[in-house]
């Protein structure tokens, strides 16, 4: 059963120039992205910086107004499209979807005590009883394995990992069914990353959460996600179950990303695919396949003809003209 179904999501940012702010073009940050997340599932959204994955996640959270498309969320068997809703109409849906932020330092208001921070969503959404709120905060702190005595402390007294736990507790306050985690561990030390990831996985098991996990670190993604969606220049280029994507990638860009994953065994050295040239300008994307200027397999067809997302079966979709013919290198299941 799907909880989130995104259809043809687009977010274009207008570019204005000059004194009169004339419209000269658009940055197509998210260009026609569709995917769905099943209940209890983790979908990872990966790509390099600037590919639109954060914009997509913020559109889904409706922190941004999408240019077009549908964001269907299913709550208690009832499906609603969030995209056309006004701010006030969104409020009842907010409690069902919450966000965990990348930077644990800027995502907590330094002027509020931890107890108040976690209680804020409760207060806003109508839990007026002070002692009830404090009881819930205690429960939440316990859930993320922080001592309840920390309630009266301010965020400056905590480490990055602890702050992220506080952020997760705040996101869980309203009992959401969907958590959008925007690079929740990329600002943390590697040793702390593992703890937070295990916490997220543990919470998923206990509370039956669904995650949309935005990340750029594929070794983390491999560990947490059920399915992976790869974005390039605002578009999805490949979407597949995690195992399939890692072992048999079908898009040259995915192959390049996978080759960048560090290997724990130094002897198992593998050729790294270094992509030539910079990522293209989203305001002026290349003709044909957006990836063709950097692709070592590019043909004339790639330069002129736009590829469509084609279904290869078993939930594996890819946006490449040559998906069926290329023999791409994945990473072994052992890694």
């Amino acid at each position: 059963m799907t909880i989130l179904d995104v259809k043809n999501l687009k977010k274009y940012f207008p570019i204005h120039k000059g004194l009169l702010r004339k419209l000269v073009g658009h940055v197509k940050a998210v260009d026609d992205v569709s995917f769905s997340v099943a209940r209890g599932e983790t979908l990872a959204l990966v790509g390099e910086s600037g590919c639109g994955k954060t914009t997509a996640s913020r559109c889904i959270m409706r922190a941004l107004q999408p240019s077009s498309g549908e964001i269907n969320i299913t709550i208690d068997g009832k499906t609603t499209d969030l995209a056309p809703l006004q701010k006030a109409e969104l409020k009842p849906f907010r409690r069902h979807m919450q966000m965990v932020f990348q930077d644990p330092f800027s995502s907590l208001n330094p002027r509020m005590m931890v107890g108040d921070l976690i209680a804020e969503p409760l207060l806003i959404n109508g839990m007026d009883n002070e002692s009830e709120r404090r009881a819930r905060v205690r429960e939440l702190l316990d859930l993320v394995s922080l001592p309840t005595a920390y309630m009266n402390r301010f965020p400056h007294a905590f480490s990055g990992g602890q702050r992220q736990r506080i952020g997760i507790a705040r996101a869980l306050a309203l009992n959401p069914s969907l958590i959008v985690a925007d690079e929740p561990v990329s600002a943390l030390d590697v040793s702390v990353q593992a703890q937070i990831i295990n916490l997220l996985l543990d919470l998923q098991d206990r509370l039956g959460l669904s995650y949309l996990f935005v990340a750029h670190d594929l070794s983390v993604v491999k560990h947490v996600s059920d399915r992976v969606a790869v974005m390039y220049l605002g578009q999805l280029v490949e979407i597949a179950p995690t195992e399939a994507l890692f072992v048999t990638p079908r898009h040259p860009y995915t192959e390049a990303l996978l080759s960048a994953v560090p290997k724990p065994d130094p002897r198992a050295r593998q050729e790294r695919i270094i992509l030539s040239r910079e990522v293209a300008d989203a305001a002026n994307p290349p003709s044909g396949c957006a990836f063709h200027p950097r692709c070592s397999f590019a043909t004339d067809q790639c330069k002129s003809e736009r590829p469509h997302l084609q279904d290869l079966g078993q939930g594996h979709q890819v946006r490449c003209h040559h998906a069926r013919t290329l023999a791409l290198q994945g990473v072994g299941p052992s890694v």
């Binding site: 702010r21 913020r58 959270m61 922190a63 969104l90 409020k91 907010r94 409690r95 919450q98 966000m99 932020f101 990348q102 930077d103 800027s106 995502s107 907590l108 208001n109 330094p110 002027r111 005590m113 804020e120 969503p121 806003i124 959404n125 009266n152 402390r153 301010f154 400056h156 007294a157 952020g167 705040r170 309203l174």
Partner: protein
Amino acid sequence: MSTDQTSREEQFAVATQWQLTWWRFRKHKLAVLSGLIVIAFYIIVLFADFFAYADPHATDSRRSHIPPQTIHFFDDGAFKPYVHGLTQKRDLRTFKLSYQIDPDRKVYLDVFAEGYRYNLFGLIPSSTHLLGLKNAQPEDGIFLLGTDLVGRDLWSRIMVATRISLTIGLAGVTVSLFLGVLLGGLSAVYGGVVDMMIQRLIEILRSMPTIPLWMGLAAALPNTWTVIQVYLAITIIISFLGWTDLARVVRGKFLALRNEDFIAAAELAGASQFRIIFHHMLPSFLSHIIAATSLALPAMIISETSLSFLGLGLRPPAISWGILLQDAQNIETLALAPWLLAAAVPVIIIILAFNFLGDGLRDAADPYG
């Protein structure tokens, strides 16, 4: 880990923003000292007449240009402060009055003495002053800083001038603050055309040379206006440019905060715009506003002083530092009565104090930065 250290860490962990700010500010010794000086000056503002001992408006041709007087603290080895009496002599060739100390006449000082009548805070009638004389003859007087040409006591006049000079700064900053927060906030919240218009207005205002602008505006004040009306008008004139800095600070802070994740988190939790602005954004830059204000104040004080000095601001019978300094404008007075320059000393002290205080506050304002 010792328990002392643990308790200190515990204290840090639960410290509010204001506590952290205060701890950081406390380390800036010069700023703390400046803060005390500023407080002392505003105590004088509140109790100006109490600190004065002679009616600042009372003229006396027989007391023209009396030089500053020395206070003797000990009489016969006991602490009994006194001043000597003065005898007046006119030099028959230059017609200049000169004063000689009469070593035999000792007039003892008294604290909380009776003096001229005034209204404390403009409401409570009183006649108690910090200093006075015991059993004084009508010709006796205290002249801590001497007198001016028409025999008004300079010390008392400086005390009373402090009231106008420092409150006009406060009033000016209040108006600036209001305009700055309002226009800066609008600029940031609405963006687009509103933002562009407000920013260009700020640039135009800031590119104007201040003195000619003020002179023009001040010259437009009708001279039939009362002291109070002129006071208010001058306040508005000097805050005319003062708001631009504050508007920029507020706009910058608003824009910076709008992109903070904790604002997004509050939005996603369903917080109203009102709650976001007043619960999350305003507390975050309140400390910056306070620091910017303390840096804007000395500029206001200087503005009033220079305008009044040039004769374009307040006019006698109002008393401000600028008006007192007007008396010291020509070289002749300076040669004959250099003590009239004493009115510049409080200006220098308060400006320096405000600047150091502002620096200290600015450094301490963001304990998380």
